[in-house]
Structures are given as structure tokens and as C-alpha cells.
């Protein structure tokens, strides 16, 4: 589990040990801490919380808040909320897909970028938006995308 925040994960699992009803809470906290849910961790969660592994997998794969694969070094988001949509998010998305070769939810072979579309983040007034590692690039146009992505190694 190199690169994972092991101590943080263990603390969360211990907090909920023996509490099957807290499965989702535990997964939400681990996701917050570690940004993705490694398979070994989900086995540990299943053992500690005394729930079947299949149930852990089912929950973890169903909800968008959880990620089952490690993210690339940089997370690229395009907001597809309604204002961003009205203001041209689809063209922005197409441009990001063209430049990175990634579709929604994918990570490239070099682990550089993970691309995801996402729900409105409340900054509609500066949409459409490109968001890289939590940094917002507001009022984006397809022409400006390349210059933004170039800044990330």
C-alpha cells in the first residue's frame, strides 16, 4: 500500500471495529483521507466491521463519492452542472478528452491525469470551469485548455 495514508486508514477502521452499521461512514472517511479505496483496505474494513467483502465492494462501487482505482498525479475535472452546460461545458469536455485521450473516469498509463466530469461545485458564476487538483480555472474556453494542462507534469 505504498503511497497510501496507512496510519490514518487504520485509525478509521479501528474507530468502527465491530460496527457493521457504520460501513458507509468508514468508507466515506477513508476516501476523504486516502482519495481512493485500495482492495486490501476494503478487505480490512470487511474483517474489522464484520460485513461480507461483497457488500463492501457493492457499496464502494455504487456511489460516486468512492474511487476504486488510484488517481493520477493530477485530477482534472470539468463541471457538467447546468450553468456550465449552458455556457459550453460540452465543448470544454471534448477538448480535454481530445488532449488527454481520456474519457470520463479514466486515468492514463503514465498516471499523470485522471479525468472526471462532476456535479456543480457552487462556482457557477465563473463557469464553464476546468478544475485541476482543486484549483479552479474559471471562464474557460476550449482554446485555453492546452495551456492550463501544460502546467502540470
Amino acid at each position: 500500500m505504498s503511497g497510501n495514508n496507512i496510519d490514518g486508514i487504520i485509525a478509521i477502521i479501528e474507530k468502527y471495529r465491530g460496527q457493521p452499521g457504520s460501513l458507509i461512514h468508514a468508507l466515506v472517511e477513508i476516501q476523504h483521507e486516502n482519495h481512493w479505496l485500495p482492495r486490501e483496505v476494503m478487505h480490512q474494513v470487511a474483517d474489522a466491521l464484520e460485513v461480507p467483502f461483497a457488500q463492501v465492494m457493492q457499496i464502494a462501487s455504487f456511489y460516486k463519492a468512492f474511487s476504486l482505482t488510484p488517481k493520477g498525479r493530477h485530477e482534472v475535472h470539468v463541471c457538467t452542472g447546468m450553468t456550465c452546460h449552458l455556457r459550453g461545458a460540452a465543448k470544454l469536455q471534448a477538448k480535454v478528452e481530445e488532449l488527454t485521450g481520456l474519457r470520463d473516469g479514466e486515468t492514463d498509463a503514465e498516471n499523470k491525469f485522471t479525468f472526471e466530469t462532476g456535479a456543480c461545485l457552487g462556482s457557477c458564476s465563473i463557469g464553464p470551469e476546468l478544475i485541476v487538483d482543486g484549483k479552479h480555472y474559471g471562464r474557460m474556453t476550449p482554446e485555453k485548455v492546452e495551456a492550463v494542462l501544460k502546467q502540470y507534469e
Binding site: 452499521g21 457504520s22 460501513l23 458507509i24 461512514h25 466515506v28 476516501q31 476523504h32 457499496i59 455504487f62 456511489y63 460516486k64 463519492a65 468512492f66 452542472g81 447546468m82 450553468t83 452546460h85 449552458l86 455556457r87 462532476g118 456535479a119 456543480c120 461545485l121 457552487g122 462556482s123 457557477c124 458564476s125 465563473i126 463557469g127 470551469e129 482543486g134 479552479h136 480555472y137 474559471g138
Partner: protein
Amino acid sequence: MPKLQSVAELEKYRAEILAQRDPAKPCIAVCAGAACDGMDSAAVAAAFVTEAGKLGGKIEVRTTGCHGYCEKGPNVVVTPGDICYFEVQPADVPEILAATLKGEVVERLVYKDPNTGAKAVHMHEVPFYKHQTRLLIGDNPKIDPMRIDDYLAVGGYAALVKALTEMKPDQVLDEVKKANLRGRGGGGFPAGSKWETTKNAPEKTKYVIVNGHEGESAAFMDRAMLTGNPHKILEGLIIGAYAIGAQKGFMYTRHDMPLLEKHVRNALAQAKEYGLLGQNILGSGFDFECELHFDVGIFVSGESSALMRSIEGNPPEPRPKYIRTSVSGIWDKPSNLNNVETWANVPQIITKGAEWFTSIGSEKSKGTKLISLSGNVVNSGIVEVPMGTPLRTLVFDIGGGVRDGKTLKAIHFGGAMGGSIPADLIDAPLDFDGMSKLGAPIGAGGLLLMDEDTDMVEIARYLLDFLVNESCGKCAPCREGMPQMLHILTNMTQGKGKPGDLERLEDLAEVTGAASLCALGKTSPDPLKSMFRYFKPEYEARIPGGSGDK
């Protein structure tokens, strides 16, 4: 900070805070709300802190939640005088500080009317602000959300003090009922009667909950309130708990907003430290705790029963409506859920009274409403106006009309479960019941302008696509009906419409609306219905051989 043991200690502490603050001392409020943050207001705030530091404490700098006029961020407001500077860059900082020291204004950074060039310096002169009644969001520029003392300095927790010392729980409930406060989360249901149901439920253990999920696309005021002034919502919640007799509260919000999480966590910790949460609050004998919970990234978790399942740690699936959460909610205990904005209204109702509150607004919708104004509008942002305000005021006087000199085609309210009305209904008043009758219920308050180029078939397709992805899949009409409607609409947008499509859409809308378990499925055809009502020719034109075939 030692815990405040009584109301007297709180008021003494408040007096000390105020004594240390000189209202004449200049203060720079830099907005760090979601939109300004996206325009790198953090760099502006950092520059102010560095540069003001060199002036030996002559000017104070404060980072705050959303000021409202998000379109023109990063926003800066200088007090005294509420001088508004827009689109401020770090390079502007020394000039603003120098002018502020001399009591002058940096003319090039103030509002300029795009048509006449007329300038507006003070907040009450800026067109975007001057038509508003900012009872709820108006405090945002005065408060650093990380500092409870800022909230106390603007009179925060005075309503709680009044409730605990001067009023019995029943009197608090009566005041909220008399105020006719209606839920701001979409339904417009009277908060007072909901509180009463939970209060009167036989179980002793009761819960109160803040719905801060705000899943409605392009609605952003709840997060702005919760991030920018978390104590206001918490104060409302504690007062509600006192009236209802609840011992525990939950704040439920989005997992994907780091700043929101930070501010709410900090607010809960500070309230606890000050003795405003916990055992024997301010020596009143009233005990109340509050926990923070997060969603799992699915829209339906904002629905009341699904939200409560989620707090229990279960998958957020709605329950049938005949089980009333007010009586049987979290762990089957009576649970009262209200929206962020509903709770935010409570403190002022207690402080200023129901009579004052009902003097604002329209006949059946009282108080103000926060509106997230966006889409093809010139001035996007968060707007607060009295209920009953004509949409024209929102769209033109405040919003500045349609972007890029285009004309208005439609106004959309309420996101994917809302509806669109044509531009010629622009004089309709903002009112729960009136807007519902028109087919565009206010919902949470996301108002979108759509310009002449908007393809209404494509909008219906987009909204349905959103809901198909958000359905929890528990019941068949929603799970099966929506994808079928989506399929037909997708074909229509791709020039593959077939005779009979509109009739099929109407049938599917009927069935899905009638047979779905929760409001997500039930109201999923609403946008489409509003479009059939007002924009049918546009749909007919997509059917070969149809009446509108070109």
C-alpha cells in the same frame, strides 16, 4: 477560551469583543467564496495580509464567505462605507490600501455601468445590490467564518439567548408558526407545523437536521450560507431543537467541498468550546449536541428519508412517503429536517418577531428568498429579495439582463425537477404557489436564464440525463421510465425523431410521474411537461411529417 456558563457571561464577553473593535478603523473584506476562490481571491487576500502588515495594524484584513456578486470576483469590500471593488488583482492591493488610509476611493476598481459608464462606489448604490433585501446573506462580508467572535460581534446567538431565557419551547414554536416560515428546500412546507409534529411525537429521543446537501444543479446559496456564516445556521438549529425538545442534531452536507467542511467543523468545535453546544447550554439546563455528516455523491441523498438513511450509515434510498420522517426518521425516532436557508431564518424571527417577518414578502410566502442567479445572465451571483418580487426585477434590474446582447427565451427554476417558462411571463412574482402553478416551481432557488439560442429539446434531454444517473434504482417506474424518455429525447436532438415520439413521451411522463416512489421519479417529467406547455412547436419541429415539420 473558558466555557460561557451563563447568559450574563456571554453578554459580557460580547461587550468585550465590541469594545476592542473600533467601527471607524478601516477593514478590508476579501471574498473567499466558491466563485471568488475560483478566480484566485486567495492570492489577493495574501497580498492584503502582507501589505497591511507593513502598516502596523492601521488596517484590518478579513477573509469572508460569498458577498453575493460572484460574477465580478474577486470581490473586496472596504468598511466603513461599504466601498465595493470588483475583479481585484494582487497588483491592485497597494493602491487600495493607500487610498483607504487617506479615506479615498480607487475609482478604476469601482462599478461602472456597462451602458452609461456611471460609477457606483458604495454597496447600496451598485445596481446588483441596491434592489435586494439582504437579511440573511448581508452579514457575510462582516464575518470571517472561522471566527465565532465575528458572529457574536454582529449580534450572533442573541436569538438563542432570548429563546432560552425569555421564552418557553412552546412560545418559540408559536412564533415560528405565526411567522408562517415555509421550507426553503423545495416544498415550501410550513416549518412550524413540521416542528410541531416532531415535538408531539411520543418518543423522547428526537433529532433535528440541517439539509445542506444542495444537489440541485446551479443552486449555490445553501453552500454559500453554510460556508460563509455557519454559526447562523447552527444558531437556528439549536433554537429549533429547544422548541422541539431534541437532544441531538445533524448537519448533512456535500463530501466534495473542502472549505465548507473546514468551516462547519470549526464552527461546531468553537460553539462547543464556548458552551453553546453540549451540556447545560449557557446555564439554561438545555443539552444539545451536533454532528457533521457527508453524502456519498448522489443527488437523491438530499431527499428527506434517503438523507436519514444515509446518516444512519445505510445506502441513501428513499422510503415510501406514508412513513413520515417527522414521526419516524433517523433510527425510527422523530426527526425534523429543514433546509439550510429555513434554519437561517429562525434567529431573526425570534429576535425581531413574527409580526416583523410577516411584514416582508407576499401574501402566502413570507420573508426573503435567496436565489442563485446564473445561466446566460449578465450578473450572476446570489441574490436575496422579498418573496413576491417580480421576476423582472431579478432578471433585469439585478441580473442586468441576458449576456452578449442576446434576448431572453426562457427562465428555468428548480433544476432537474423544476420547469421552464417563456420570457413573456417575466412579470410573474417570485412566490411558492404562483410559480408552481406556472409549472416552474422555485425549488431550492436556482434561477437560470436561457437565451435565444437555447435548444429546449436539448435542455430536457440534459436534465433527464442528469436524473437517470442519479436515480437510486429502487423502483421500476423511475429506473425504467426515465431512460426510455431519455432515449426518445436523445434521438430527437440527433435528428432521429419519429412520428409518435411526442405521444410516447407524454405517456411515459404520465406513468413515471404517477408510479415512482419518491419525488425524484415523480417530478422527473416536470421540466418536459413545462416545455410541452410552453415550447411545444419546438418539439413538433423535430418530428418528420409532424405539424411543425420544416
